[in-house]
Symmetry: C2
Subunit: 562 residues, 2 copies
Amino acid sequence: MQTTLAPSSLFQQHEAAILKAVSAIHDRRFYAHFPEAPSKNIYGENAATDGIQAFQQQLANPFVLRQDHDHLADTDEQSPYTQKALGITYPAFKDPRSYTVRSLKAMNSWKTLDPASRAGILMESLERFRGRFFEMAHATMHTTGQAFVMSFQASGPHAADRALEAIALGYHELTRFPQDNFEWVKPMGKFEIKMEKHYRQLPLGVSLCIGCSTFPVWNSLPGMYASLITGNPVLVKPHPTAIYPLAILVQELQQVLEEQGQDPHLVQLVVDRLAEPVAAHLAQSAEVKIIDFTGGNTFGDYLESLPGKVVFTEKAGVNSVIIDSVADIIPVAQNIAFSVSMYSGQMCTCPQDIFIPRSGIRTEAGHMPYEEVVNALVDAIRNIATNPQMGANVLGAIQSEATLKRLDLAREHGHRVLLEPATVTHPDFPDARFSGHLVLEVPAEDREMIGREWFGPIVLMVPVADTAHAAKLASELAASKGAISCLAYATDADTMDMIESEMADAAVSVSFNFTGMFWVNQNAGFSDFHVSGGNPAGNGSLTDPAFLVRRFVRVGSRVFRG
Amino acid sequence: MQTTLAPSSLFQQHEAAILKAVSAIHDRRFYAHFPEAPSKNIYGENAATDGIQAFQQQLANPFVLRQDHDHLADTDEQSPYTQKALGITYPAFKDPRSYTVRSLKAMNSWKTLDPASRAGILMESLERFRGRFFEMAHATMHTTGQAFVMSFQASGPHAADRALEAIALGYHELTRFPQDNFEWVKPMGKFEIKMEKHYRQLPLGVSLCIGCSTFPVWNSLPGMYASLITGNPVLVKPHPTAIYPLAILVQELQQVLEEQGQDPHLVQLVVDRLAEPVAAHLAQSAEVKIIDFTGGNTFGDYLESLPGKVVFTEKAGVNSVIIDSVADIIPVAQNIAFSVSMYSGQMCTCPQDIFIPRSGIRTEAGHMPYEEVVNALVDAIRNIATNPQMGANVLGAIQSEATLKRLDLAREHGHRVLLEPATVTHPDFPDARFSGHLVLEVPAEDREMIGREWFGPIVLMVPVADTAHAAKLASELAASKGAISCLAYATDADTMDMIESEMADAAVSVSFNFTGMFWVNQNAGFSDFHVSGGNPAGNGSLTDPAFLVRRFVRVGSRVFRG
């Protein structure tokens, strides 16, 4: 049951959660508002079956949104697991201006709401979204190819937590200066000057959120909610192959907005086709003032070059692993192998270039030659793919045919093949687009090869002179090509410092000595700032203060009172 | 006497002032750290005479800085009061790369200092600058043409307060998240994952500060100190006609830096000539990552278009006055006349277009026809210029010959001349470049004329249908041409709301019903956000959080601890 509450009472209802999030953001220690386990004990006995049912009922049917439209649009959504079209249609306009007109109209009321009322409404939409995490998991699986658990976590609780971060940090930034009229009194010796002042905090205009095909929700929610909390209307333009997941959020937002007397067109879904993209057209339009983008460099660089827009991008990069010394190679190899295997390397945080000293590494059991290190890694990577219990559930499916073709492209460079892609199968999905990893050994001299992002199940082992050489290379690649993560193994503090300093020169965060059940790919909400904004992999960071404060301006009023 | 203190003890020395500033920034009520009165009681018995002596000794002499150079450069500095060259030479390099190389070298040490140490050093430089406010006043007078009191206040205490704002807000932003290693512990049911984390907060690279000719210090200090507190080296590139004022700051900064064991090249003065400008060359260089600019639209727009740079601009605009209703026209006319007269309208916040309903306005004494309102304004403007006690001391001198020529250009449009420029004289400066105001009546239909910035002593009276028409016009001009201020007179709350809302659509702050000793041109440190960033007059705001947080990135380190 949904009850219509006044905005202020929605804030009261969610105030504790929002303030706790503000405090967690400033604390940076572990915090999660939405539990990540897809468990009955947490989400209810029927949540899983309800979720899959909702998903199945949606397939081949129109997606119902509270937004004007002149037709129902077909899409390019196709499940990487069945390689069949989802057949969902979405409400759409032929003329992109039909969206921005409605955005601006909706903004008129939304921008006058106080930050608390906005925060209450937005938080309510996340709480309702919680009830659809299982449907979301299937929607994500069958658009991105992610395995079920990752789909659930990344598009559900983890994404919701990052959205909550945006709401909470936005609420904090919007309330850190006086909200109401205050007196300003300047002593002038024998008299004083009095004024009454206040500030309006104004949105910039239409915010365009351009989603990606692999993490449509996790990557888009922070920007969407950051723009909304700061008063901007949002056009959600998903990747043409991954619309359904974001449509769920738009639906929940529109529903709450309408109940609260706001214009649901504040958040509109904009769908397009691969053959007829609309993002550039919208990005150029004068009404669009904010752009959030996840995707390739060419379009990202173009968006960054648009004058007069606030643009946040996350683009391609080349992530490195540096192995200097380890306690025991086995858990290290397993951790690295899992990092590269998760979702078949279709993650912006996934390692690609693994730098290993040609002379070998130190371990607690003594010196280990280069070839042994490589073999341990290759074995661990192979073992995941060929493990019938794990394989497909770690690797997930390949989102795009282009990613599979990339394996052939990589092979054409003629480098030594250390591992040919294993055949991966899943009993439930005989037609799925799966692939094991291609592992190549590439000399450091082939800078073109190691400096390119080989998005997908491709790993490059790069022999280097020593750890300093590795760090220098990794840092140079990151500075010139971009990088979001760096995984390093070193047992002494000096080497760790050296690596951290080198990577800091390229503004890359370093994860040291990861073993066990946590991987460099993972960025924890409320703790890790995702993407530094200091190298070509992206020009902003989720979710730091700049991500919020750039989305609104302050305009003052001073009334002379004598 | 200057003592060499360890950075930490400099912070201890200034901690109370910095924390008080942080609190004042969040309070927004009246606050000033540096007193604005050029008084003996505050600045000491000999401060005034010492100041003028220092100024006179500097004229026609090399300016001594602690920075490498390959020659002493001549400049275009000429006093608007004597129309004679100042004859000061400054250390300079022929090759601009010589500066950036030294900047990056200096950054290596500066970026590793903790925020408190940086804040202590920067605050110390401001405290020493305090001892040179009187010299600064003369340096500003004889480069910008400002009258003495404005020179003292704007380039001295007011500028120092805005610099303190930048230090304090930067210190706050750099310390709001954990500074040291902290533990992150994720519960995983039967076990937990432990990590040790910290963040480095890294500068972006070389920061280029491009000064203007009219407010070289007030407009430049916030960006300089914002970049410095966040770890960036700064190249201070003053306008070729107003170098001396900024050179004083560079000198003080270099002195403190050297005493504190930092490389004084962290802040370097870069001088150029009008005929051989160097700013574009530096702005394009890969090492320059941050640009602060005050000046014209053409170059400002160009700088904003440079890819991959963080750019803060303050450009031209058209500021309006809207007169709807007043208690008494006399104090209103006096206030407006003083606002347009101060420094002969050579201020970015100075009103230009005065909108008056053709049908007249309401006053407490009854209806007042349009012509009477205009006459009251014109009389008040004339009275300031022709008042032998006040004239030159309010108007100051005209900084640039081009500004004088603008009067002829404006006259050529053929509109009704309401006031011809009075002849202004000052007994001490018979050769000064003075001018009274040209006041024209321009119909609202001449959008080209009223929509252009007529920088200098030019005022346009614009008859309009009514107040709604005035607000609409003012807002449209601001949205398309930019505006920093709006002065409005209205006696009822509904009209005030209407005007405020209209101007908010163009992101312009409104000052209501100003009379007496405070003028719309003035922006109070710690209270008024200067420039909204929401219209073409500028893309940033002094000194809001975005002004600081965009100048650094955060890079994390995560060490797995089991």
